[in-house]
């Protein structure tokens, strides 16, 4: 039986009818129509569906939407400024060639955001560890890691969150 729930996504409240078995990834994509969140393996291995819940990176493909009421959800659409200016992590992914096909990018950037929020100056090993739940089949990871290093510098220089 469908139930109307309120989801706080990117500081906006969406009222959506859901069934208990609806996954957060499907609700974000199909009902809220924010398609930046991707579905890859759908079993928690690839990290493409990563979103932040209360600031922590989690897998939306293994999360029930109904369990997310009252929590703050951040998707890739919530990172850029209102005027379209990219978040420093997004900008450095573009500048340093860390985006190729783009399918893993949303998850990579959100995992990077969670890392930099808790550890603003991570070492290379810490970056690798933080991104080990996000698979990329194009880049070989080198450029992604470089992009996170640059974003870390930009963010601390500019004092961006």
């Amino acid at each position: 039986m469908k139930q109307l729930i309120a989801l706080d996504i990117n500081d906006q409240i969406y009222e959506v009818p859901v069934d208990p078995w609806d996954l957060l990834s499907d609700v974000i994509r199909k009902k809220v129509r924010l398609t930046g969140t991707k579905k890859g393996c759908e079993q928690g291995d690839c990290g493409a569906c990563t979103v932040l819940i209360n600031g922590q990176a989690v897998l939306s493909c293994l999360t029930l939407a109904i369990a997310c009421q009252g929590k703050k959800i951040t998707t890739i659409e919530g990172l850029a400024e209102q005027d379209g200016r990219l978040h420093p992590i997004q900008q450095s992914f573009v500048d340093y060639g860390a985006v190729q096909c783009g399918f893993c990018t949303s998850g990579m950037i959100l995992s990077s955001k969670a890392l930099l929020d808790s550890n603003p100056k991570p070492g290379r090993e810490e970056i690798k560890r933080a991104l080990s739940g996000n698979l990329c089949r194009c880049t070989g990871y080198k450029k992604i890691i470089e992009a996170v290093e640059v974003a870390s510098e930009t963010m601390s220089k500019e004092g961006v969150k």
Partner: protein, 294 residues
């Protein structure tokens, strides 16, 4: 991938969770982190009619430590919270290490220690160090609580001593004895996002002279349907002065006690060899660290 249709409950109080569990019995499953359960449901291996989400029950969460008594860890505590806990790092290092190796950042933010135990995978990270550290589990139901050593709770691959109407609610970790040190290690196909071919934990205590081994527990994971406690390694080492030769002998003994299978992740022969390698390595590491303690 779709989930079967079910009714969802999210109780706030322990009493309500136990009530639901009692009333719904085998038709219900407990939802903690969901990283194992929802995958089993997606694969149609489980089709529960009800899910009881215990994430909102505060009594099932948190890490509490009392000097001299030990630690209590709520079953619905996230693996990432255990990984980050200062007291777990200081007192129960092997558990800290294992928590940091489970899945990915995302999985650790979701998965719970109770879930990792109740899923009872022979290759799971946390059972091995928990058994080495002498953990007990608290099993709750409407008729009260019962306790048992973790090694008696896990019965086999996916099997536990949990009866209908019961919820695993707490882990009790005894205060480590003085001069003791614990270490965890694993070998898998790669370093990240793998499932261990073998994992192992040792909990070793030295006497006041800093050389004689006073106590030892060596536990092997992924080489038996449940965590396997070595009987021979303590017999070889306890009461003796630590040496590389004795550690090697104990490692070989543990290896011959292990009963691994060959599967997609490793052959039985390789696993037996790795038991010896990890045993030797962790015994040496734990000994060196314990010398620094006394």
């Amino acid at each position: 991938m779709f989930l079967n249709h079910f009714e969802y409950f999210a109780p706030q109080a322990a009493k309500d969770a136990l009530d639901l569990c009692d009333r719904l019995g085998a038709k219900a499953k407990i939802l903690a982190g969901g990283t194992d359960l929802l995958n089993l449901m997606k694969d149609k291996l489980l089709k529960p009619e009800y899910l009881i989400d215990i994430n909102n029950v505060d009594e099932f969460k948190g890490i509490f430590y009392e000097p001299g008594k030990g630690a209590v860890i709520g079953a619905a505590t996230k693996i990432s919270e255990i990984e980050r806990s200062e007291i777990i790092r200081e007192k129960y290092f092997a558990l800290h290490q294992a928590a940091g190796e489970l899945g990915s950042v995302q999985v650790r933010n979701m998965a719970t220690i109770g879930g990792n135990i109740c899923n009872a995978s022979p290759a799971a990270e946390t059972p091995t160090p928990l058994v080495a550290l002498g953990a007990k589990v608290v099993i709750s139901s409407l008729s009260g609580d019962r306790e048992m050593p973790l090694e008696e709770f896990i019965l086999g691959n996916g099997e536990t001593a949990l009866a209908e109407g019961e919820i695993l609610t707490k882990f009790l970790l005894p205060e480590p004895i003085s001069g003791s040190v614990s270490r965890y290690g694993y070998i898998g196909l790669r370093d990240a996002m793998e499932i261990d071919a073998v994992n192992l934990a040792v909990n070793l205590a030295l006497g006041e002279d800093g050389r004689i081994i006073k106590q030892l527990k060596l536990v092997m994971g992924s080489v038996f349907p449940r965590p396997l406690v070595s009987e021979e390694a303590p017999e070889i080492l306890i009461g003796k002065e630590f040496s590389a030769e004795l550690a090697e002998e104990a490692a070989r003994a543990a290896s011959s006690e292990s009963k691994p299978i060959s599967d997609i992740r490793a052959s039985a022969e390789y696993r037996r060899e790795i038991v010896a390698v990890l045993s030797r390595r962790l015994l040496q590491e734990a000994f060196s660290a314990a010398q620094g303690e006394v």
